[in-house]
Symmetry: C2
Subunit: 346 residues, 2 copies
Amino acid sequence: MSIDEVVDRADRGRVTLQVIAGKLDVSTATVSLALRDSPVVAEATKARVQALARELGYIYNRSAASLRTARTNMIAVGFHDITNPYFAEMLVAVEETAAEAGRTILLGTYAESLERQERVLGTLKEYRPDGMILCPAGGATAESLNHLTAARIPVVQISREIDGVGLDFVGSDDEMGADLAIGHLVDLGHTRIAMIGGNDAISTGRARHRGYRAALQRRGLPFDPALVYMDYGSRQTGLAGIQAVLDLPDPPTAAFCFNDLTAFGALLGLRHRMREAGVDFSIVGCDDVQEAAQWYPALTTVRNHHAEMGRRAAELLIERIENPDLPPRRVLIAPELIVRASTVKR
Amino acid sequence: MSIDEVVDRADRGRVTLQVIAGKLDVSTATVSLALRDSPVVAEATKARVQALARELGYIYNRSAASLRTARTNMIAVGFHDITNPYFAEMLVAVEETAAEAGRTILLGTYAESLERQERVLGTLKEYRPDGMILCPAGGATAESLNHLTAARIPVVQISREIDGVGLDFVGSDDEMGADLAIGHLVDLGHTRIAMIGGNDAISTGRARHRGYRAALQRRGLPFDPALVYMDYGSRQTGLAGIQAVLDLPDPPTAAFCFNDLTAFGALLGLRHRMREAGVDFSIVGCDDVQEAAQWYPALTTVRNHHAEMGRRAAELLIERIENPDLPPRRVLIAPELIVRASTVKR
């Protein structure tokens, strides 16, 4: 039994190579070659086969193609969260770049649950994607990706990085981003600057907190742990965190937020305390999602180039699929400060 | 050549059934049956095969499984936009429901471009998904989905509906939603009520505009076309639309927005005119995305139960895959009004 025959047998009820072959009185091999535009089939026969295939609604079978080539042309994407516009916008960039290269996205999400991540990545793997792009859940370790590396599936990590896993990574230079934010606030005269959001379970949380402390130290300002409110970056964290630090005996006059979502929550939380960013308080976000420019006040933030990050991750993965023996690459994209209306002189 | 052998040949460089069979000195058929837990293989042999497969990192090959069963266990999802949290949150519900039923999501997006939609749906089709869930781009016609129905691929439309296409549909009762919004505003004493966002290219745009006009008429209020600002629902549309109607000689005192994104833009646009929702203007949104409750003022909106919509769409599709001859079903979910702080007495 040939591959084509195996595939045809599985195509019960659909238009198959055999149906086309029968109607034109040629072999299934001829039909298969004609549909792949092989030079060994006469032009006239090819034209007849291709016209009939179109007419009957024949669909190219990628399962069969993947058996021939050992490629599925699928890229699996595992993200912890796509309801954060940062990751939704990044995913669109991954998907568009993959589509341009003839690849389609298999999607799995797992919130911040390691147990769901384990299950989702296991399932995605069974579809035999040519490679994977992952943003791991908080607390993920190198061991949690061992089953992928053992199966020699090319993997690119995006945005969040697991230490010592030896895989390609594309992210932003988060310590530099924190330094840009703190530098801007210090230039405006602020000396008590809170940090809202982010935690030690994710590399971006660790790096932005490290950057915040280093930036204060570099400018001769003391570090006050009371000004740090740690949690996953969400609107809710910003809403709660800004109110918590405003209620301190010696409150801050400015805050650097872990991400834009946290900053949007903080902008709203300020109003609950009858304060307004850009008037009597300063807020700096991190990410620059589309929404940031539309806020009133428009958000001053650190642009992490997340669409570029998505594009680069897809490109790195496609290169690695072609050339699995490349050494691991670590691409850190330099962020930039976008000054808008949510920051003001002290 | 058996299916297993065809598959093994395609698995160059990976741990295959043949590798396991060779190491244990049994046939590939025995390995294949043992991995599928067949009762015809002795328990002791099964245990040895399964242990070695785990140890070597053997991955179940879904391409092969799909040749055996003519099922891929993939559900293709085509959405026009996932950066709108309404669709991102809906997609998460689709994906979680599909995952519970052992299916994985193939994702394609196409903004509002019919040309991209054509290309994306054509590619998704080639992966032989067991079915598709679609939210079509604006202006899509029954003809644009003909190639899917001709190929007898089960399709469920979600949120947006194409007239006369004869496919399953899950959406909200949009005319009822508009009536709930206008009724609430009229109860608060408003008589000049704008409608911001939505257009005739999509069924939700047509239905919400129809509902707006019918609701005014039902309450004896005149329809003034100057109060209608039509465009796709986005933050930008809300920002521009609210300012356009406020600049009229006889401006409105309230607005019903096509969706929450538009309403968030309108809340910000009001501030550009030194106005504030819930104080001297009233805004009602439509969707109730997670962000709506977090705004300051928190958004009064029409809850469309979009997570429920995602779940129901996945369930309908799985039923249709099992039973392709079911008559087309049309599920309209009743919306409800959620009164928060963005509306106030005139």
